[in-house]
Amino acid sequence: MDAARRALLPTEEAVALLDLTTELAEKELAPRVSEYEEAHRFPRELFRVLGRSGLLGLPYPEQYGGGAQPYEVYLQVVEELSRHWLAVGMGVSVHTLSCHALAHYGDERQKERWLPDMVGGELLGAYCLSEPAHGSDAAHLGTRAVLDGDEYVVDGTKAWITHGGEADFYTVLVRTGEHGARGITALLADAQTPGLSAAPPERKMGLRSSTTAQVRLEGARIAAERRLGAEGQGFAIAMDALDAGRLGIAACAVGLAQAAFDAAVSYARDRVQFGKPIIEHDGVGFLLADMATRLEVGRAGYLAAARLRDLGLPFTRQAAAAKLYCTDAAMQTAIDAVQVFGGYGYTTDFPVERYLREAKVLQIVEGTNQIQRRVIARALVR
């Protein structure tokens, strides 16, 4: 992290936290990322290392074992992790999202019972909203939950679940009532619940060390006391969580863009053509200047939205704008980084081709960038 960014951190604690994050990332993540990505290997043990250092519960209250950090700081931790290993940064973002419903909509008894373990670092969470037939149109999800005594009996399939099969708990959105958004309810399921299982992981273009799988619920019985919020409140809970989750993805995108940018600058300083480093040729220098500009603007954008959230002000539109801008910026930056590397960039000997494959998913997850535009446009109508 450069001096300018450090100077803008709000507290001494934040500086120490970011330093700790950088140390963990450089010593534990950076040496392993290439090997794990290539082998499609999920780094479960590294999440435990991060958890023991307190990185899996940063934005949650101290009384439940969280780090009590503002989003402004938590997101920069996600960015820093993503700079070294996108799948890990995104994993932390997804885990944090999976604790959101309980932390914000659970009652006191529920929070005391489950939240300390969920944010304490040993457990990993997953968030189940999408379904094979209901992605962007989540309000029409079809996974059915029927109350039977003091248990919900749940049947359906959840799709694109980050940590599917790896997680210890799942925050699941199910249909308990009428068609549409008002019939949706949030449940907190233990991974050991009989009838809950994960399909074989998806074979993905990038982000291969992050397990993505369908999660099947086949007569899974989930205790009614594990319902978060009221019946029918689930969609509102999901959308609230997504606002925060979008900022997480924006931070991931800036971290990835930073990695691509750093690689490109370093290469362009060393690579000599026509008698001088290619960074001194305007064709390349201007490309890098545009990359640097997108980074600065993107980071400022997600941090501005985060500060609104930290102040308790509405931030839905700003979060959508940050997610849209930062992930498009990461895509373009990764494309340009490959261009700066020329032929070498197209080989797997350098990390930029991986950044290019990874950037694409950020334009799709946590609401496609078309959905973000819709969120922004709708906010303008009212």
């Binding site: 936290l17 290392v49 250092s53």
Partner: protein, 259 residues
């Protein structure tokens, strides 16, 4: 059990370093300071022993004013309190002077065991543990790759080129550790926050009853007379094998005394 762990703040090993042309000591202001890597193993061992046997761990650090990163790291890892010895008169102390100053600080503390890293990454004399033990009149158990404490005695595996010796002594004692001994923990975020509230006692030379004539550049037994920058790596020799490559390679290794 009361354990004192000694740490040193050193210039970042990987950073470009230079010598101050006037004092011929490392220009510490121009590079980031951090805890000597080997000392993290000492801190970890102290914490593990305290966790196993109960007791408290105090970190002691000597350094220039503001060189607080090393002991802070120890506090963040879980050490209970810190003593920081800083005084302009200490600048330029060699190993002999340093061991005297540290022994004086230890004289103000209660302890059953003193643990430190077996060498610092800057000067690499590896001699402070032995000097310190001598000054304190305590048994020295150096280059430990394993430490076991049993009430009033201590047993270590002393790492050697051919394996290890088992060395035993009564407590209190001075132990230096090698990297093989453990896996230092990362501080947790909560540890970092808690560290800010832990007691830090700052001492100057007078407070530790240090005779300033025996420390610093003035009091040092050794003096650096001259220093030269390491010459840049030469390109090496390329031998094209025209049938005699093997012989030339063997000759090269023989001249360098590798074979």
């Amino acid at each position: 059990m009361k354990i004192v762990v000694l740490v040193k703040q050193v210039p970042d090993t990987w950073a470009e370093k230079r010598l101050d042309p006037d004092t011929l000591t490392v220009d510490r202001a121009s590079v980031d300071g951090l805890i000597n890597e080997m000392d993290e193993f000492a801190v970890e061992e102290a914490l593990q022993l305290a966790e196993k046997h109960g007791g408290e761990v105090t970190v002691v650090c000597m350094g220039p004013e503001g060189a607080t990163d090393a002991y802070k790291k120890a506090l963040q890892m879980g050490v209970d309190k810190a003593v920081f010895l800083t005084d302009p008169a200490l600048a330029g102390s060699d190993a002999v002077g340093t061991s005297y100053a540290l022994a004086q600080v230890l004289g103000t503390l209660e302890y059953d065991l003193v643990i430190l890293g077996s060498e610092a990454s800057d000067a690499r004399t590896s001699i402070v543990p032995a000097l310190l033990a001598e000054r304190l009149g305590l048994p020295q158990l150096t280059f430990a790759s394993k430490v076991e404490v049993d009430g009033t005695s201590i047993k270590i595996n002393r790492q050697t080129d051919y394996g290890h010796d088992v060395v035993e002594a009564g407590l209190p004692a001075v132990v230096s550790v090698v990297e093989k001994i453990n896996e230092p923990r990362y501080p947790s975020f909560k540890g970092i926050m808690a560290a800010k509230k832990k007691p830090v006692q700052t001492l100057d030379a007078a407070a530790a009853a240090i005779d300033t004539a025996r420390v610093g550049a003035v009091g040092s037994w050794s003096k650096v007379l001259d220093a030269t920058v390491t010459p840049p790596r030469s390109k090496g020799t390329i031998v094209t094998d025209e049938g005699s490559g093997g012989v030339e390679l063997a000759d090269f290794l023989a001249t360098k005394k590798f074979v």
